[in-house]
């Protein structure tokens, strides 16, 4: 019995009779310890959800303080060095404690075993360990904050970080070092799971694109993060013992730090965006009732992004005295990354073409993603061009570009995914009207915040200063106003999602009429996921298969 109302694919069971399943992963065991010692990937996903949300709001608070300070041209809210600590903390928390673990930690953990038809990830204990390692890193970051903060910027650039600052650089560097291991463990777990745990019939090209995206992101985590670890160890040694590896006075080379750091940190932005692209593929397919156009191209473009992502790091260093020949090569390679990204955007657009598009909240976030990510990506091409980069680098243009990709891309995708799989995770629907309002608010607030920053950057306002010339005030006020709207847009889901835990409509197993294996089991799923391991006997995103299956179910019941 389902009630399809109006122009929507959402089909919920009859609310007067519907019930949550008697036993599921949430009520299977009780007590704090049953959560802290759990090896169930779904419960670990919820642990991640709580912790990344916590860190998101701390990082967001710093963003708010930064924007508040920039409301006026003078540094009048806080002193300049406090401001430095604010943007450093904002960067560290948002990148290492939110963006990197958010989608893999929450949605990846929850969905990868469900989507490939397995009972758990390959290494459940390692999975739990990675959460604890993440929490240890997060706690240490907070310790660096409480002890007095750190003001290197999130990049720990030498020689600033090694010679000129007297803040808690080592504490912060160790925090990020530790957090990195969480990401390595998650990456290993995902790769092994996707290779070894697929159910019968689940070939590589029957995997949902969410899995391809996570696979590519995991490769980056596994290959990139250890290099960050080495780099941070070297920075700590340089500070502690003055060993001279990055110190020109002793024969070292500060540029070597940049090479090592960006060898991880450029791929890291793909760690942040690829899982988001996986989410978008799932939502777009479901909300336009079509197989993703060019499935194979989208799948391979994820791997191509991961591959190219390792060969563009030097574009962060064009003005830092690298050879102009290598700059040329890296500029070209940077342009090449745009190709697989564009392949994705075009294929999503063609999926929409002649699809039966409906406008549920996750889909609104997806549209937000496509628009904002396209702007972010294209401005990335500006920055990748050698001549333009000399003018634009270290200005607000870079800030705006990065936020368009990471917030407009990564965060929009995270919210799309949270809304889309919320009924699966909790068994209840989020409230539709207010969540649409939140999606639209976020989109408007985001553009108001960051579009002015493109102009500011083009006019030459450098980033990371607490003060600016008065003629830039109008654009800065616009940006701060936008940040207020944006903050409101992020508070809303927090409130109504908590509300929906008790009062949301009961979702039933497949509210979206989606084809993934995760939608063919109860919501919330039982602890062991599948009573017996499923057999994937159809192609991925096969809506006819789903229609036949549903028809059959109805006749059996009738």
């Amino acid at each position: 019995m389902s009630t399809a109302v109006g122009n929507t694919i959402v089909s919920l069971p009859d609310q007067s009779t519907a019930q949550l399943p008697k036993r599921h992963y949430i009520n299977n065991e009780y007590g704090l310890l049953s959560w802290l010692l759990t090896e169930d990937h779904k419960r670990i996903a919820l642990l991640y959800l709580f912790s990344v949300t916590f860190f998101f709001f701390i990082g967001g608070a710093f963003a708010g303080l930064i924007r508040l300070e920039l409301l006026t041209p003078q540094p009048d809210l806080v002193a300049a060095d406090t401001y430095n600590k604010f943007f450093t903390m904002h960067g560290l928390i948002m990148i290492f404690l939110f963006l990197v673990p958010s989608i893999p930690g929450v949605l990846g953990n929850f969905l990868i075993p469900l989507m490939i038809g397995a009972r758990d990830l390959a290494f459940p204990k390692l999975n739990l360990l990675s959460w604890y390692v993440y929490m240890a890193g997060g706690t240490l970051t907070l310790a660096a904050l409480v002890l007095g903060g750190v003001d290197t910027g999130w990049t720990f650039t030498t020689p600033l970080s090694t010679h000129y600052l007297n803040t808690h650089v080592i504490t912060a560097a160790m925090a990020i070092f530790i957090t990195g291991f969480s990401s390595i463990l998650t990456g290993i777990n995902f790769i092994v799971t996707i290779h070894r745990m697929r159910c019968p019939g689940m070939t590589w090209f029957r995997m949902p694109l969410f899995l391809w995206a996570h696979y590519a992101a995991s490769l980056l985590m596994v290959l990139g993060t250890p290099v960050l670890a080495t780099t941070l160890v070297l920075v700590a040694l340089e500070r502690l013992f003055g060993i001279g590896i990055f110190d020109p006075a002793k024969g070292g080379d500060p540029l070597l730090f940049q090479h090592l750091f960006w060898f991880y940190s450029h791929p890291a932005v793909y760690i942040m965006i690829l899982p988001g692209m996986g989410v978008i593929s799932e939502v777009i397919s479901t909300c336009s009732r079509k197989r993703i156009f060019g499935y194979t191209a989208v799948a391979f473009s994820s791997v191509a992004i991961a591959l190219f992502g390792f060969f563009v790091w030097e574009h962060h260093m064009f003005i830092m005295g690298v050879s102009s020949y290598s700059a040329l090569v890296f500029s070209l390679l940077t342009m090449l990354v745009a190709v697989p990204s564009a392949i994705k955007i075009f294929n999503w657009a063609f999926t929409l073409q002649k699809g039966s598009i409906t406008f549920e909240t996750p889909m609104l976030y997806c549209f937000g993603f496509m628009g904002l990510f396209t702007i972010g990506g294209l401005t990335g091409v500006f920055l990748g061009s050698l001549g333009m980069d000399i003018h634009l680098t270290e200005t607000y243009f870079v800030v705006a570009h990065f936020h368009f990709v990471m917030v407009g891309g990564g965060l929009m995708a995270f919210l799309a995914g949270i809304h889309f799989w919320w009924p699966k995770m909790t068994g209840r629907m989020y409230p539709e009207t207010i969540s649409k309002l939140a999606a639209v608010t976020t989109f408007i607030g985001f553009n108001l915040t960051f579009l002015p920053q493109f102009v500011l950057g083009y006019l030459g306002l450098p980033r990371r200063y607490a003060a600016y010339p008065p003629e830039f005030q109008v654009l800065n006020v616009l940006s701060t106003a936008g940040a207020t709207v944006l903050g409101f847009g992020y508070m809303l889901p927090m409130l109504y999602l908590v509300w929906s835990l008790k009062y949301g409509a009961i979702a039933g197993s497949n509210p979206w009429q989606a084809t993934g294996l995760e939608w063919q089991i109860a919501s919330p799923p039982p602890t062991e996921n599948f009573a017996e391991i499923p057999i994937m006997d159809h192609e991925v995103y096969d809506y006819e298969w789903l229609a036949n299956k549903t028809k059959k179910e109805v006749t059996t019941v009738g």
Partner: protein
Amino acid sequence: MDSALATTDPADLHAEQEHGHVSLPQHRHHFETVEQQREAGSFGMWLFLLTEIMFFGGMFLAYLLYRNWYYPAFVVGSNQLSVRIGTFNTMVLITSGFCMAIGVWAAEVRKRSLLTAMLVTTTLLGVLFLSLKYDEYHEKYELHHIPGNNFNVSMFTNPAGYGIKEAPLPPDMAQKTQVFFFLYFAMTGMHALHMIIGLGILCWLIPRARRGDFSSGYVAPVENFALYWHFIDVVWLFLYPLLYLINRHPMH
């Protein structure tokens, strides 16, 4: 689910083994078969080793860069290392790797005492390696060749005064030996740290091996640890020529 529960009972396990089924108490419920579990474990281990390669890779990159820039300082620094101890240590490490490999074989053919003996030998050889390494470090400490504020370059600017047959380096190049010694300590130190972790795991494996945990068909921990141990050997096989042997060619 039922069969997985049943196999935790030793009596049932025995019965099943007699019927020729591969069923182990260590079989985790979320794996369909024991074979799948074993493959997943070793695949995970290989991936972990890949991350280790990347971890050491950063330091190898630094080595490559500075060696190109400061070749004379690297040669002189390298000549300060004892090729004799280095070579002996290389043999010690290869032998320990060999013992570990025999250990894996012993576990696979279910020879409990041979496995235990091989693990103990591996441990002893590992300790021997580290003791010799400590001796080398100690010598550098006494010569003030540890990078940092106490680093002393006089041996390289005035080798004759120390009775060393070596062309003196100009002061700025002599200062660069510090970079060589930093890399020497960072790379061999990271390698030693990995060995210490390895010895810790060995101390956990040995009592379990004696108890017979790995001689009833469940060899995954031994096998995966062996991969780790061999990896450490391989890292050393790169460190040894790069750090000890760079100037040992016919030109000099």
